[in-house]
Assembly symmetry: D2
Homo-oligomer: 338 residues x 4
């Protein structure tokens, strides 16, 4: 951590800061420049309260140096983590493909979806049973009944089941039916839920919050890792920006950046990341070319009748065509889908 | 809702859309322009699944017209809601002032803070007992012990107690000690928590998520109102933008905008909204001049030793000086603090 | 255009708006819903002053329907435009590759760069002679001397020369030496410059401003097209968002979105779009997989000695390796580099 | 400047960086921490090319310490600059008030506007003669004829004339008629124009670009100061964010932040900063309470017939009422309007 003193800082201010740093058990290195003094603090800056240095007299700003996460860090574990759930592998040479409807709506719908995405090459079935919805008046999901239908679809197809859990008290129930617990963007900083997921035996797909920095996202992963669950997949689903022609902005540079910082695999969600069906194929290809370890895509038998997210869901033909194109890009990357 | 058809839409596409709208029980008005056809849909567009119209063939985009919230709407209830908790009133001629430390750290700290902010004119004591923290390695709060200390501070000063609740299962416990339940920015879309708070007898201070649109924020309030609790205060605490000289960007135009759309009072948090102590006084004044119904400010006996948020906390003297300045602005607005 | 009246709008307000719309020569269609009245305005909404409808009494908001640009629109010209400059083709089956240093620094530097990027498969040489720099104290470019050196590099390699023009009065001079005029992000709305470039015989590479919407960007292109120059290439170079781990956020969904809206080719700049050399290769691959018609990349013989943008420039080996990888992706897209 | 080395950096990497820093004439201080080595560079980091350190082997990131501007800095000149133009003073105890239409449309319109805003207490007349417009099909202003009409309005009222200049070649012409040169948001980084304005005898009102950081904005001011013109007023007019209920987001924390960093006065534009007439009064009051040195407001005799920006213009009565309210806030700040 670097403490930059104001030009107007007095000797007393500087000495007070030196004493304060030492009182935290850290070692200050004082560098007096022509215009300002800076104090480089050596030691673990991730201790409680250190950010409060900024409120000291004569301090201009405090610049952190160390990444705030540890277990998620590539510096701690250099080989990439490969997460596996039934037949799906995410990471290494494998690019996991999770596909299916936004919401589970009926047995017919979920079984048909599972068969179609399996036939096109997906390795997991996504589908929402507990639906966090922006409006209290929207369809809130089929809940446990939806979980049972997904499990039935797994029985038919062998696909791994990926589904969202929205509260810590539901983790056990969802873990009973699902192969992967999804934590949604709205809950990325629901720490009670992260801790509960960290105690589940299931791998976790952790979506990035739409205004979360990468550090905040990796710290959310750190909560899960720290609670004992090593199988975390990061999922980039787009950030909020001034752009309105897409519902969110999908920053694919997250892929190489995150891969340099962490050993955890990264999955891209081009459906939420664009919000429009006609943009999903191009962004799936791009995700794979950027080096993503997986994709998660919304597919529905009849998107214009979907109970949620129809505007960004593909029908079966569109998905099958997309998979062909993605397969060629994966090959050009010396990787394979599924 | 307006369905804008593509220029290339066929008659069949248009007729299919008309039939689809009618099948939802809505009335389509078809307007054929020189360049495009648009279909104005009359009726309540807030029904499940209507957004999926966009995936219909030949559709270019779908523009909503009605605000998606009802109970929070000013169209439903035109007189402003005034929320009261002990001696604090928020709304009408009164500007509520909530002040205190980020975290409760000790009896001495919270009692001293309560006395100081009361002396300066605050009407409520804020303080965190359950702390949602970005890092799992940060201080997580004193939990129930912290709640007890806040209640003790209320006994001494008569201030209303405002404190955060982070999970639905804690609502009863926190309601036992607190006068106002705060729902933090990270939990603005934790719907299980919103529903639980909606069943509590305590007023709720609902912080805006840093990437939430105003509609999403008002829909979160709608969850609480819909569950039966009419006493919701909205709290603007800044949004994530490209600016880095402040931790968040505090958009004060939210005040007049929200007041035109909803009857609920709006509170400004200049501490989180700027992230730097030296900007808090100016933004508190500005909040009041913009017409805010309350402010919530971080105050600590010794900010550079605070266990959290020291960089944005005021000491007692700074707060007292700020209150003098804010009092003059409130008077120029024909309102009063507290 | 749809004029949404407030719920509280009176009959007089509605009639006044109807009269006002008619006075503009447009046809109002009045639709009276259960909650509100909306007026659908048929006719060309792109006339001066129509936006001011919003200030009429009883008006809640005005929603545009038609895209504001015409010449750039895909509805006007459905086949994609292919821009050619010497041996470089941008669009159709060809993916143009423009590479070279941020600034021209010396004859040796620019000739070496030209040879290296040509050997790796580039079809154009980029390099700045007139440099718009954030600080007045930064190196401002070699100006005409730099243009001459680029022309010399073209003589040696046959590469097309792409270079920035920063003011209308320089367009003739730069057109004398360059094969493509680049208009930088800072000047995207310098309309005097756009008009002058519209009268040049050279193709134009128009960078998107970092906070420009896609409509604003296409309207900037419209200025050039309207002035008579049909050879415009759009260049996405990233937008300003809250992300700080990249200098800008590169929204690759611009590629399929823009291709649906306009016939103009789109080029991606992964160097400015990420701001870090180690992210450029992945984003170049992704750009091509997203369907981009070209890429423009910063390459320098010795990036850590570069006079500008060294942190985002590749050295020759890095570029050659990147081109190999990009070639494979292009092949998987049934396209070819250069 | 602090150079943070990667954890994996070798001794050779560190030594190479030390040598490189020394070769720039700067002094490296090497600090070896338990996890990483950082090199604190003492000396003027604003020299050309220093940013390129980041591309060195083993470097993780480079953190700047000094502000990149000098002449604009409060550290250089501690007393605030007060800018004067005719009877308007901006800074110190005075809050300058510039008001008038977006565009000059006719003699009648501009004279009536000047009289009305003068009567309400404005000290300068704003009005556009050269209009930079997003669309080539929009009204582009009356040009020199418009300047003459503004000068006539000055003759009648004594108000200072504030008008935009859009190109370096127009600076002399506009300086002939105007008392203050406005440089618009789109041109904030049009360096040729900044340099020309720096040579004009007229004060300059420099608007912030909607995606400019404060440092970029102050560096743009630095171009003007460096060219010899000390009378620069900064104008905050809102930034681009994800918010859509306002056209831009007006970050009033810019006021106290900028006042701490620079001696130049800061003016707020609540018309562009919100984009809706009904939000302007509240934000003008808030701007003054935040400590702004001036406001600039769009006022039109008949906003719903305005040729530009009618949706954000006030009529005369609205402006007069706003000025009364603002006057009370100014008094509470111990300042006065005009």
């Amino acid at each position: 951590m670097i403490v930059v003193m104001k030009r107007s800082a007095s000797e007393a201010d500087i000495n007070a800061m030196i004493a304060h740093v030492e009182s935290k058990g850290l070692k200050p290195n004082v560098i007096r420049g022509s215009e300002r003094t800076v104090i480089a603090v050596v030691g673990d800056e991730r201790i409680a309260g250190i950010g409060s240095l900024e409120s000291g007299p004569g301090v201009d700003e405090v610049l952190p140096i160390l990444a705030p996460y540890k277990l998620a860090s590539r510096e701690l574990k250099s080989e990439p983590t490969v997460v596996q759930a039934l037949g799906m592998k995410v990471g290494g040479v494998n690019i996991g493909v999770m596909a299916g409807p936004c919401s589970v709506e009926s047995e017919e719908q979920i079984i048909a979806s599972a068969k179609a995405v399996k036939a096109a090459g997906a390795t997991a079935l996504r589908g929402g049973a507990f639906k966090p919805r922006t409006s209290p008046y929207s369809f809130q999901g089929m809940k446990e009944e939806g979980l049972k239908l997904m499990a039935a679809a797994r029985d038919v197809t062998g696909l791994a089941v990926v589904t969202e859990v929205v509260a810590s008290e539901d983790v056990d129930l969802v873990s009973k039916y699902a192969d992967v617990l999804q934590i949604g963007a709205r809950n990325m900083q629901n720490y009670r839920l992260l801790e509960a997921a960290g105690k589940s035996p299931r791998p976790v797909l952790l979506k990035r919050g739409p205004s979360a920095t990468v550090d905040e996202w990796l710290l959310a992963a750190e909560y899960i890792l720290d609670a004992g669950n090593p199988n975390v997949m990061l999922c980039e689903r787009g950030i909020r920006t001034f752009e309105t022609h897409t519902r969110f902005t999908l920053p694919l540079a997250s892929v190489p950046y995150v891969q340099a910082k962490t050993h955890l695999p990264i999955v891209i969600d081009p459906s939420h990341g664009t919000g429009h069906t006609h943009l999903v194929t191009a962004m799936s290809r791009a995700a794979i070319a950027a080096g993503a370890d997986g994709i998660i895509v919304e597919v529905h038998p009849n998107p214009d009748k979907a109970m949620s997210d129809g505007y960004q869901s593909m029908n079966f033909d569109q998905f099958a065509e997309m998979m062909k194109q993605c397969g060629r890009i994966a090959e050009a990357m010396d990787r394979k889908l599924g």
